[in-house]
Symmetry: C2
Subunit: 258 residues, 2 copies
């Protein structure tokens, strides 16, 4: 399994993902799931992947071949709009899945993958798309400023609580993505370190920060420690006491009888 | 769907669950999932249920019939040990599922349910069991002091971070259960208010506190508000800044180059 998340706020885009790949608990490896395509000043894309690893690697290989190939052909280098980029990647995805399914028609392997493509093309707004195995896609909206793929449930509450497209800073969004990943890693063994992150400020048309964070990377270790300590502090000090608890500082709130 | 959680700490047991029952998004109702059996001073049980509602109601009806029936028969009133209680409820569960499956053999309804049974019998330790649809069960352990049934992923990280059997107070465990439920309700529509809670202090052999909390119950509203505000404060003030952010208060931590 995998967990990747991408967030769109007014200041730009944040992408983050783990690197654990599992084919059963006795076959655990590490593969990057965050990939970048960049023409600084012109266009920048980040692709996050979840699902069948051979499928996502095939998509990436085709995308790179097109990127480096015939300048007249369709590629992330040539598409005019972000939506066209998502459609193009969706077509590569459907084609890869179909090719492998035909080869593996007598096996019960699941060849599907799900992708997040985001970025910005000069003259357009930054955009984020979740690309389904069927090749279609959905974008973020002000009401839903983030997209997730893979093992998404553990890390969803903190995103729902914290991310507001017009209020959250790019760095707070990045910290929230890391906490969301950390929560997922704590509760699910199929999501594991190191973590990859890319931060694209609005209109920079480049990746401003590309991080690989392991458990002992000083920043990530400090974030984990601070988050754990602060949550304990909130529980100990800042949540209202029940009416039967002694509490010199707060007015206890009455509970309805049952 | 449903979400119920039970926590065992040194000071006693906490049980909490939502009340939403869904048979598709166009058939949403409210049914309690927290049920209590109590002989104060002698024995006390709490049963939490997830899964097919007819199955769990059948189990409860049989358990109540036995409780009020022949004093010589097997019931929660007569079992000698907590483990026997879990085995007995597991047998009722398997029998109900089998009866309904035979009646519904041409339908594709899922008659399974999963239960949590906890409590204390005079002379024994408090105990918590998760009872599977197959009728077998697992208990908590110092390493795994909580059990969940239903839509469990959203609310798991906060439990993993906060609950330590020998350190967490009964009231902090109760607040943690409420936050875990609140996170789940925020992220999943099939889990909904009001919430039910029961708190059993160790050796009280009675339910000390039985609460029903709706979104506008003052205590729950205050808890939600405090939790949301405190998390925002932690994000704003207490997490380490990235090295490229201006931060007068903290020493920024270096990030490895990529």
């Amino acid at each position: 399994m995998t967990y990747c998340v991408a967030i769109k706020v007014n200041d730009g885009l944040v992408f983050a993902g783990d690197t654990r790949t599992t084919a059963g608990v006795d076959d655990v490896r590490s593969h990057p799931k965050l990939h970048t395509f960049e023409l600084p000043g012109e266009r920048v894309f980040v692709l996050l992947s979840a699902g069948n690893l051979a499928t996502t690697q095939a998509v990436l290989n085709h995308a790179w071949r097109d990127w480096n190939g015939d300048p007249g052909g369709v590629s992330l280098r040539s598409v005019r709009h972000m939506y066209d980029a998502a459609e193009y990647i969706g077509q590569l995805l459907v084609r890869s899945q179909r090719d492998f399914s035909q080869g593996g028609q007598y096996s019960n392997v699941d060849f599907r993958a799900t992708l997040i493509l985001g970025g910005q093309i000069l003259g357009e707004e930054p955009a984020l798309y979740l690309i389904y195995p069927e090749g279609n896609c959905i974008a973020t909206s002000p009401e839903t400023p983030y997209l997730q793929i893979g093992e998404s449930k553990y890390g969803k509450p903190i995103l729902d609580r914290m991310i507001k497209m017009s209020q959250t800073s790019l760095e707070d969004a990045a910290r929230c993505a890391l906490v969301s990943l950390d929560s997922t890693m704590k509760s699910n063994l199929t999501v594991g370190p190191p973590l990859d992150m890319a931060i694209l400020p609005r209109d920079a048309l480049a990746i401003a920060h590309r991080l690989r964070l392991d458990l002992d990377t000083p920043y990530y270790a400090a974030l984990k420690k601070a988050w754990g300590e602060q949550l304990e502090k909130v529980f100990r000090e800042a949540l209202p006491k029940f009416e039967w608890e002694p509490d010199p500082n707060q007015q206890n709130l009455p509970l309805p009888p049952q």
